[in-house]
């Protein structure tokens, strides 16, 4: 679809059909290694995109390029149709792109409220004096609105939380800036069954809030539970874009795309690892 066509459609259909973020021809190389080659991708409002691929396929590189942490070498990005440059984390943040990395970046020695507001504390009166009451109330409201109910107290130190609770806190923190797009790197890795379900429910609630969500995952079962669409990267190329919301594509097709095998050849394999 050319840019002219995109604009024409936007004009006629309203803003809903216009992708929140569209990447075109994004490439990134590290020395002689091409980590991303001519990647196209679209993220729409109220949609969960599963980003899958084998180790080294370029998933994290793509996320970092979108988040502005490691800007792409070439390629274009359009935010709601207008050309933007994702050259720094600040640029991405100002467009409303929030990223939750796999390491979560939480301070274990601080409580949930302090972590949620880290670097954007609410102060009252005197210079730099914390307004703990306001922060605690906002924290409770935020967690309630996201349906995070497993925390006994928002004054618990993060070191005492389970993996799922920590993931929920990290996702909730990324929601403080009212983002449009959430990039989640392996949100269910190393979580138990119940906690995985809770995080997947949380991701669905982000979608229901109208966010565009990108979920990187190794676990196809998880992706199938939550994603509307699966984008497959292989060796730095975008090799497939499968709608799955209504069962249009099977796990076997996606495994085949990930591995580059013909359909059926490895269809009996459950885990693409």
């Amino acid at each position: 679809m050319s840019e002219v066509e995109t604009k024409a459609r936007t004009a006629s259909d309203g803003s809903d059909s216009r992708p929140l973020l569209a990447l075109k021809g994004v490439s990134k190389s590290f020395g002689p290694v091409d980590a991303l080659k001519e990647v196209d991708m679209e993220i729409r409002r109220g949609e969960v995109v599963g980003l899958v691929g084998d180790n080294g396929a370029g998933k994290s590189t793509l996320i970092k390029a979108i988040a502005g942490v490691q800007p792409a070498d070439t390629g274009e990005a359009y935010f709601e149709g207008s050309s933007v440059r994702l050259t720094s984390p600040q640029a991405a943040t100002s467009l409303g792109i929030a990223t939750v990395y796999q390491d979560l970046a939480l301070c274990e020695n601080l409580d949930v409220v302090a972590n949620l507001f880290l670097g954007q504390e609410v102060s009252d009166g005197g210079p730099g004096v914390l307004d703990e009451t306001a922060m605690e109330r906002k924290a409770i409201e935020l967690l309630d609105s996201l349906g995070v109910t497993t925390l006994r107290s928002v004054r618990t130190d993060v070191e005492l939380l389970s993996g799922g609770q920590r993931q929920a806190v990290a996702i909730a923190r990324s929601m403080l800036g009212e983002p449009n797009i959430a990039l989640l790197d392996e949100p269910t890795a190393a979580l138990g069954i119940v906690q995985t379900r809770q995080i997947l429910d949380l991701i669905k609630r982000l979608r229901d809030r109208g966010l565009g969500v990108v979920v990187i995952s190794h676990n196809l079962a998880d992706v199938f539970q939550v994603a509307d669409r699966v984008a497959v990267l292989r060796l730095g190329r975008m090799v497939g874009d499968f709608p799955i919301a209504e069962g249009e594509s099977s796990q076997e097709e996606i495994v085949a795309a990930i591995t580059g095998a013909e359909l059926g050849e490895r269809a009996t394999e459950e885990e693409p690892l």
Partner: protein, 404 residues
Amino acid sequence: MTPDGAATATADVEAVRERFSPVQMMRRIARGELGEVRVLIGIAVIWTIFQLANDRFLSAVNLSNLTLQIAAVATISVGVVLVLLLGEIDLSVGAVSGLAASVMAVLSVKEGLSPELAIVAGLLVGTVIGLFNGLIVTIFGIPSFVVTLAGLLGWQGVQLAVLGDTGSVNLPPSTVTDLTGTFFDPGIGWLLGFAAIGAYAATLWLSRRRRVAAGLEVDPLSVLAVKVVLVGAAILAAIAILNSDRGVPLAALIVIVLMALFSFLTQRTRYGRHIFAVGGNQEAARRAGIRINRIKVSVFMLASTLAAAGGMLAASRLLAVNQQSGSGDVLLLAIAGPVIAGTSLFGGRGFVWSALLGAIVIGSISNGMDLLGYDSDIKFMVTGAVLLAAVTIDAATRLRRQHG
């Protein structure tokens, strides 16, 4: 609606009663919460032992002396707490305290500068050294352990050079000696005490009222009352004891004000929150937009300035500055104190009052051993054993905390 509300309220009361029941309190102490309470229990045990061994230990004169003995190290320890919270260390605080006191003494006695200006100059020496430490640590990424170890040696050398051939400067009566030689009238002592209790109660009450207004969970008023009564009783008892000797010393007031000030800075301000964040997870702090290097440099500056202030208090009490000022066990005790009282050596965990509580523990042991006629050999061994025991208990409770 009404029956539901009533049921919830009853459940809340039950939950609170449960949480503050003796059994639960014991469990919380064992888990490593309420760290202050554990130290206070430790102090009570130490005091009981020494009182049983020598009934002069808890006399007004001796407790008054103890207060003056720990003022300098407690002040230095406040800076140590700040550095430890960052996950760094400052091994130069002892040497800096000696150098700053030397500069102050030479300027005021030999150069004829007014004592007040000499004190300011001494404090500035600390600030500049802290700036130097912080810049070396942040710009070159050298571990603070090494940078300040070099400082420990280097600044001692500068101190010897500053003191010159005589190697010792006696301080005539002046503002400097008044720092530890001034005692308030009993009336003023009581006034200060009641003002402190009033301020404490008002802080708790206002914070509770704000939380109630915001619809947040609060402790019942009885808990608040118990806190105020306990803290108030401790303050009034201390003032009664000090008043029955020479009165509340100015040095004690200085130390308490420093504790309150830096406790507020670390617990209630954005700056303090960022210190904890850097000490807890530096990468997370960086990604949250916290300017790590700025925090680090400023904390090293505060630590060295507080070390210099401690040096002034030590000089004031000794009525002299000599080549031994700030050397010997000053550094080790200033670091051991907060660690004994629950500030972690590994960053991100601790509280400013641990500087005072730790100084009381170490000072009591040293003072009690002196009373019983023991020499330094036994004193060092006992202090070392207490430090080891304290960090072992701390590590054990932390493990228990993390594994259920």
